[in-house]
């Protein structure tokens, strides 16, 4: 980690965003300290849709644009993620390819954790491993709950007006983005 990085402040923000118990920030800081710090410039691609996922990232500062190719192969902007957040962890959990392309939309700082370190920590009995598991569980629980809420709103709308299929399909796409962690 760079000496100029205020790890404790960033860790406290991760703790708060993922609603971890008070006192967890120190363990988050310890987890981040074993990552490789990377600065990204505007337009720099962190990873590309459909490529194998070899690294998980913690976005420490800045914003990342998320885009996906549609059925015609055109790139569509999906959302913009702001720090602090986790990125790319699903590929390391279930060996799935990247589900979107992530590009820096401004100067960004990410902490990168490679697959070997990720697997070692997530399956191990260290305090770093414990906080990593809990960050992942918190993030994925939020994704699932958020998507379920959107899906239920599509199924049981609060109005009596029929919703056309195009609008429903748009809502389904939004729910899918929440499931993938690309939208809150």
């Amino acid at each position: 980690m760079s000496p100029s990085t205020d790890l404790s402040a960033i860790s406290e923000r991760f703790r708060a965003v993922y609603k971890l118990p008070p006192g967890s920030a120190e363990a988050v800081a310890s987890l981040l300290s074993v990552c490789e710090l990377r600065a990204l410039n505007v337009g720099e691609v962190l990873f590309t849709e459909r490529e194998p996922g070899l690294t998980a990232y913690f976005l420490l500062s800045g914003k990342i644009g998320v885009s996906r190719r549609d059925t015609r192969g055109l790139s569509l902007d999906v959302s913009t993620l702001a720090a602090p957040t986790l990125l790319g962890q699903m590929s390391l959990l279930d060996d799935s390819p990247r589900s979107a392309t992530c590009t820096a939309v401004g100067p960004c700082l990410v902490a990168a954790m490679d697959r070997a370190r990720f697997q070692e920590l997530v399956r191990g009995d260290s305090p770093r491993g414990s906080v990593l598991r809990r960050l992942l569980i918190a993030a994925m629980s939020e994704q699932l709950a958020g998507a379920n809420g959107r899906i239920l709103a599509i199924i049981d709308p609060l109005t009596d007006f029929p919703v056309d299929d195009e609008t429903t399909e748009h809502g389904i796409e939004e729910a899918a983005r929440v499931l993938d962690g690309w939208k809150a």
Partner: protein, 208 residues
């Protein structure tokens, strides 16, 4: 499961559950010390949607539970919980939420009550690590399978629309339809809206 009246019997039952396969017996025995066993009759609520999230989760030892969500007008059956699965895990890892669903027993049920403090105070206990890994795998599977259901529903609707258009145009041959899922119901006479099709899938899909 009616004879789970000793720590030894509870530990033996736990070791038969998938999440704790391969965990050393002494670690499972230690987990039992942190927890309690609770028995429910059928149709008893563990918690209700909107309740404060509380500070315990449950590991199902036997029986079955149903997850239900009330929307503005309906009560939806979201999923079934089977032995070896954890329910109410939000209480263990996050704070300040309310319960997002109602969980009700669907049969006589025995569960292990896991207090938040047991998890937080023993982060490196092998049985707790095994439960967390199982939870991570289950969440990843639920995320992926829910996404697959969404994609499938959209594909079904597009195929049905294409087929309907072809019929209207007088074609005899049905255009290719994406592979129908095994549990798919026959196409009704009246065309379904995409939201209705999604509701059918969401009510019956096994997303666990």
């Amino acid at each position: 499961m009616s004879d789970l009246n000793s720590p030894r019997a509870i530990a033996a039952a736990l070791q038969c559950l998938e999440p704790l396969h391969g965990v050393p017996p002494e670690a499972v025995a230690e987990l039992v010390q942190f927890t309690t066993v609770v028995r429910f009759g059928p149709n008893q609520a563990l918690f209700r949607q909107g309740d404060p999230v509380g500070d315990v989760a449950w590991l199902l030892l036997s029986g079955r539970m149903s997850v239900r969500v009330a929307t503005g007008r309906h009560q939806r059956m979201m999923a079934d919980i089977w032995p070896g699965e954890i329910v109410g895990e939000a209480a263990l890892y996050t704070k300040g939420h309310t319960r997002s669903a109602t969980v009700v027993t669907a049969a006589p049920t025995v569960a292990l009550v896991i207090p938040r403090a047991a998890i937080l105070d023993n982060p490196n206990q092998p049985a707790i690590i095994a439960l967390e890994l199982h939870l991570l795998e289950a969440l990843a599977k639920r995320l992926r399978s829910t996404n697959a259901v969404l994609q499938r529903v959209v594909n079904e609707q597009r195929s049905a629309a294409t087929a309907a258009a072809a019929r209207r145009a007088g074609y005899q041959r049905t255009p290719p339809v994406t592979a129908a899922p095994p549990a798919a119901q026959p196409e009704p006479t009246e065309p379904l809206s995409l939201a209705q099709r999604l509701a059918r899938w969401f009510d019956k899909a096994d997303r666990t």
